[in-house]
């Protein structure tokens, strides 16, 4: 017996598989023609896709609009950069970023979850601004100039060793990390915990009557989202070799929200599709005209008006029909 939500999730898994295969295909073509730029742009898209995934957990499942998710993305990036400069090890950096996400998420969650709705959006926005300003003015963290000099790493994965300088190698590594994050999130969203988050989004007042504490659930989803954002952020300095306070700025958080809405809220896989499309569109339009913000704003409005469920609103029903053809 499966309910509609599980069926939706299955359709999403197929879409995620299609995305993964497309990525591997891209990697093969990129490797064959010796490309660097497009593979690294795609890697960046995946990394920001991880951030969008975090926003979707809060927005699409728990119904909380975070305008400051870049806080955890940026913290993860800074912690990873500082760790890598001192001790160049992939696993240490990822571990440190996870610890930052857990700890920072707990503190931020305890503060932000005291309020709801628009106030939640404002508090998350405010926390990110405070952290960004603090880093902007801390000389040991490079202040406004950011930190450069993150070394090129050799990541030992047991069977193979991947260099972060190799465009195709690091692309596949980032694909692996983001896939794991996606798998973890979509598994959790299909458990009773995930269902309760959806219940909170739908009607928070009724959840306590079913015998569940909403504060714990909300905190849980906040911490999950901050860990996902932080782990994605940890990949950024490995790709680009630097971090800067701009990673924590509102433009990063805002882009993540746009990405989720573009891809489809509450689908998880939509965040990844959205990020890839958004990154490509931004890169192409940015090179074409300096008025790219206007073009992106108009595209965003068009999506909100004509595709209220995002791109996944188009793809998901098709996929569901394909997957469950012949089944009742």
């Amino acid at each position: 017996m499966h309910d509609a939500l599980t069926l939706d999730a299955r359709a999403n898994h197929w879409l995620a598989l299609a995305l993964g295969l497309a990525c591997i295909g891209t990697a093969c073509i990129g490797y064959a023609i010796g490309d660097t730029f497009y593979l690294r742009l795609a890697t960046e898209a995946l990394i920001f896709g991880g951030l969008a995934l975090a926003v979707d957990i809060l927005l699409g499942y728990t119904g909380l609009l975070s305008l400051g998710q870049a806080l955890y993305f940026g913290l993860g990036a800074y912690v990873s950069a500082v760790t890598l400069i001192a001790f160049p090890s992939f696993w240490t950096a990822m571990g440190a970023a996870l610890a930052t996400g857990l700890f920072g998420g707990l503190i931020g969650g305890l503060i932000a979850n005291r309020v709801r709705g628009v106030y939640f959006a404002l508090i998350t926005f405010g926390m990110a601004q405070v952290a960004a300003k603090a880093i902007y003015n801390t000389r040991s963290l490079g202040a406004s100039d950011g930190l450069i000099g993150v070394p090129v790493l050799d990541v030992n994965l047991g069977i193979v060793t991947v260099s972060t300088a190799s465009p195709v190698g690091f692309f596949l590594l980032a694909l692996g990390v983001v896939t794991l994050l996606y798998a973890l999130c979509s598994y959790l969203m299909d458990t009773p915990f995930g269902r309760l988050l959806i219940a909170i989004r739908t009607n928070e007042a009724r959840v306590p009557f079913l015998g569940f504490r909403t504060t714990t659930l909300r905190l849980g989803s906040f911490v999950l989202a901050s860990c996902v954002a932080s782990l994605s952020g940890a990949l950024y300095p490995m790709l680009r070799g630097f971090v800067s306070p701009e990673l924590l700025f509102f433009s990063t958080s805002g882009n993540a929200v746009i990405t989720v809405i573009l891809g489809g809220v509450g689908t998880l896989v939509g965040a990844l599709y959205g990020s890839i499309i958004f990154t490509i569109v931004k890169s192409v339009i940015g090179s074409w005209t300096e008025h790219h913000l206007i073009v992106i704003g108009i595209l965003f409005m068009a999506v909100v008006i004509f595709l209220p469920k995002g791109l996944m609103g188009l793809a998901q029903p098709l996929m569901r029909r394909m997957v469950h053809r012949g089944k009742p």
């Binding site: 023609i33 742009l41 100039d145 450069i148 090179s287």
Partner: protein, 390 residues
């Protein structure tokens, strides 16, 4: 499948070969500069300066018979965007050289990318000292004056005009404000000035009068400030209302009084002095010619960003002709120690840290306009070479 891929890669390889073989192909210079957002005004000057010089060079036969082609990308004053765009220019457009980055974070991050991609970049705008000091890179050059040069020039002028002056410092309370004040203070100490005290006011302060008691009690002959934008407007008008400007010379950072806020400050800006690497008022014939050409092309006056960017194209031309190549290692050698002429006079790139040495100008506001009051020679202003990487 494999044979298809092989053919494809052979074709692409042949394509790159044929492009590098043709000597008459244009030399591509990538420009990653803010064309939108807060720094769009600076990016505009960079663009105008580069385009004007490129037009002149191309009309005169180009560089070693090759025309220069500029390829612009918008960096949105964000290092993450700048690095992505720079990588595109390096890898896809295959530019020979790159310039344009404005904020220091972008210059440092793009410089690191250039180093890892084996290309050269130059900044014409960023003035953080670190770019050609502790964070110097063998692949990064700076053709404009850094913050240390501006402050050294100003201090040298001060020691001549107001020997042994008591100086009071008032800066905005954030990292850049504090480091600017600290840099000028160390220059003042070097030339024998005396500190009369310092205060830091929060950014966007509405009321500076709370610091005036301390300022008056210290009886300084000179006030140094590094506030900027609308903060300058409030500080200066309040100083004037309290009659504090009468017996005190106000010095400041180059961004304290600019074309944007000078009319709002009005009379209170009279007598303000700062050190800069360029002013459109410089009276040399080269500069007059440059300002006229710039006005004719853009209907605006050049500022230091426009002038430094204009000069860069000529530095590049001189270096390529000296090296007889656009190849990274040869060009780096040619740029080291290069002397070339610019609207500001002759500049030299110091081989030890890739910082351009140039005459610095001390300018003072008179009747609402900056005028040059003194020149400080290049060697006096450039400061020590602290780059240890090469």
């Amino acid at each position: 499948m494999q044979s298809v891929l092989k053919t494809l890669s052979v074709l692409l390889f042949a394509g790159t070969l044929s492009t590098s073989a043709l000597a008459a192909d244009p030399i591509k210079i990538g420009v990653v500069t803010p064309l939108s957002g807060t720094y769009a005004g600076i990016g505009q000057q960079v663009r105008w300066g580069l385009e004007l010089a490129t037009k002149e060079v191309n009309a005169a036969g180009g560089v070693m018979g090759r025309q220069i082609e500029l390829i612009f990308e918008d960096e949105e004053a964000n290092p993450s965007v700048a690095v992505q765009k720079a990588e595109k220019l390096f890898q896809v457009s295959k530019v020979d050289f790159l310039t344009g980055t404005v904020n220091s974070g972008s210059t440092l991050a793009v410089g690191q990318l250039a180093e890892r991609s084996g290309k050269l970049i130059a900044t014409t705008v960023s003035f953080a000292d670190s770019i050609t000091a502790d964070k110097c890179s063998p692949n990064v050059f700076r053709v404009n004056a850094r913050a240390g040069q501006q402050s050294a020039a100003l201090a040298a002028w001060m020691s001549k005009e107001k020997p042994k002056a008591k100086v009071f410092y008032l800066g905005p309370d954030y990292e850049m404000g504090r480091s600017t004040v600290a840099a000028f203070k160390s220059n003042v100490d070097r030339v024998g000035g005396e500190s009369a005290g310092e205060v830091f006011a929060p950014l966007d302060s509405k009321d500076y009068t709370q610091y005036f008691g301390q300022l008056r009690a210290a009886r300084p002959q000179v006030l140094y400030t590094s506030v900027a934008g609308n903060d300058t407007v409030r500080l200066f008008t309040q100083l004037q209302e309290f009659g504090l400007l009468a017996n005190m010379t106000v010095l400041g950072a180059s961004g304290t009084v600019t074309a944007q806020n000078i009319s709002a400050i009005g009379k209170a800006a009279e007598g303000f002095v700062t050190g800069v690497g360029y002013s459109a008022e410089v009276a040399s014939p080269e500069n007059k010619k440059f300002v006229e050409a710039f006005r004719a092309a853009t209907k605006s006056d050049p500022d230091l960003y426009g002038a430094d960017s204009y000069g860069l194209i000529y530095a590049y031309k001189a270096a390529v002709e000296k090296a007889q190549s656009t190849e990274t290692d040869k060009l780096r050698e040619a740029l080291r120690g290069l002397k070339w002429s610019t609207p500001q006079g002759e500049k030299t790139i110091r081989a030890g840290d890739h910082q351009a040495e140039q005459v610095m100008y001390v300018v003072r506001v008179k009747d609402g306009k900056f005028g040059v009051v003194a020149e400080v020679s290049g060697p006096d202003a450039i400061g020590a070479d602290t780059c240890t990487r090469f």
